[in-house]
């Protein structure tokens, strides 16, 4: 809903910003891992996997997700199929 002013200016409702910002900051507070450290971890994981199988780095998704009060590192790494790799 929000005010007409907010809709015209495209300003996001502040409660939504608060929740989104908190969701990110709490993950970092709880894991004691910064965004930069997460990127480094991601690069290491990709380097190890690339040594064994062919992957598309652009399609990889590695993120910390909240599950209640627990955080988990979730990796979704699509593998390139052998057939496609040979023909392409």
């Amino acid at each position: 809903m929000g005010s007409l002013f907010d809709r015209i200016t495209g300003r996001k409702q502040s409660a939504k910003s608060a929740k989104e910002r908190l969701q990110l900051v709490l993950i970092h507070d709880r894991t004691d891992m910064t965004q930069v450290e997460l990127e480094a971890l991601r690069d290491d994981i990709l380097a190890v996997i690339s040594r064994h199988v062919d992957i598309d780095p652009g399609a990889v998704r590695i993120d910390v997700e909240r599950d209640g009060r627990e955080q988990r590192l979730v990796a979704d790494i699509p593998l390139r199929s052998v057939r496609r790799r040979r023909s392409g």
């Binding site: 809903m1 929000g2 005010s3 409702q13 502040s14 409660a15 939504k16 608060a18 929740k19 910002r21 908190l22 969701q23 900051v25 709490l26 507070d29 709880r30 909240r66 209640g68 009060r69």
Partner: protein
């Protein structure tokens, strides 16, 4: 029966710990329970003035711990409830005057005197906080629907889990229903989703709370005060009753959802 020791903490200062302790204590006392509050904020004494007992102080918590008075001498009796007491903080000492093991000993000595011991923790996560939670059987974390308070509450909840104090219960204080309705304040549901702990109360922003502290008479018993009702409900939930959450926006839907989330009907 041995008393239950409940500590109120928040991480961030100014979210309403002291006011909540005073109001919940009055609500418990009005239900016939024997209650002793302990001001754990040594050097920044405040629970006495909120409860209206600032002129009755002779001995304080450090006097008891250092053996200058007996326990009963430091328990100031409330004006309205003969079985409601306060052990005030020392004003001219600092937090190092008390250790966590002192608090455990004090708590155990008090257990036979009353039914409930409510400890008001200082802000922060250092010595005063460690002292305040040392003897606790249950911890209540209080927060406001605001980014800094929620972040600090999360940090405190993490520390309590690491200390194996069990999962605390959450009080969301000073919720403004009309701001929530306009999507300009985190809802109780949002805060609960972020912090993922058990909810024990939502207290609306209410000017009668300030009026009560001005007079030194907590508003927990004022029939018409919404915040008073919220504090009475928290006391009943602490005593094991199932009480529905207040319908603060007269819509019901949000509160029905929270009740489902927390398993309360």
């Amino acid at each position: 029966m041995s008393a239950k020791i409940v500590t109120m903490t928040s991480g961030k200062g100014g979210v309403g710990k002291t006011t909540a302790v005073a109001n919940i204590a009055v609500a418990l006392a009005s239900n016939g329970a024997r209650v002793c509050c302990i001001d754990g904020d040594i050097g920044l004494r405040n629970l006495d003035i909120v409860m209206g007992l600032e002129n009755r102080i002779v001995y304080d918590i450090v006097d008891v711990i250092e053996g200058r008075c007996r326990l009963r001498q430091a328990m100031i009796r409330d004006k309205r409830f003969p079985e409601l007491y306060l052990i005030p903080a020392a004003q001219t000492r600092d937090k190092s005057a008390v250790s966590p093991s002192d608090m455990v000993r004090l708590g155990n000595d008090l257990r036979n005197e009353v039914d409930w011991i409510l400890i008001d923790s200082p802000a922060g996560i250092e010595r005063g906080f460690r002292n305040a939670i040392a003897a606790a059987d249950q911890v209540l974390v209080i927060t406001n629907p605001e980014v800094s308070a929620v972040r600090d509450a999360d940090r405190v909840i993490g520390l309590l889990e690491a200390e194996e104090k069990g999962s605390p219960s959450l009080i969301i204080n000073r919720l403004n229903p009309s701001m929530v309705k306009n999507n300009d304040m985190l809802s109780a549901e949002d805060v609960l989703d972020l912090l993922a702990v058990r909810l024990i109360g939502v207290v609306p922003e209410d000017e009668t709370v300030v009026m009560g502290t001005n007079r030194g008479a907590p508003i927990a018993l004022e029939e018409k005060s919404m915040a008073g009702q919220a504090f009475r409900n928290i006391a009943l939930r602490m005593q094991g009753q199932e009480v529905p959450f207040l319908d603060l926006d007269n819509k019901g839907s949000l509160w029905a959802r929270i009740q489902r989330m927390t398993g309360r009907k």
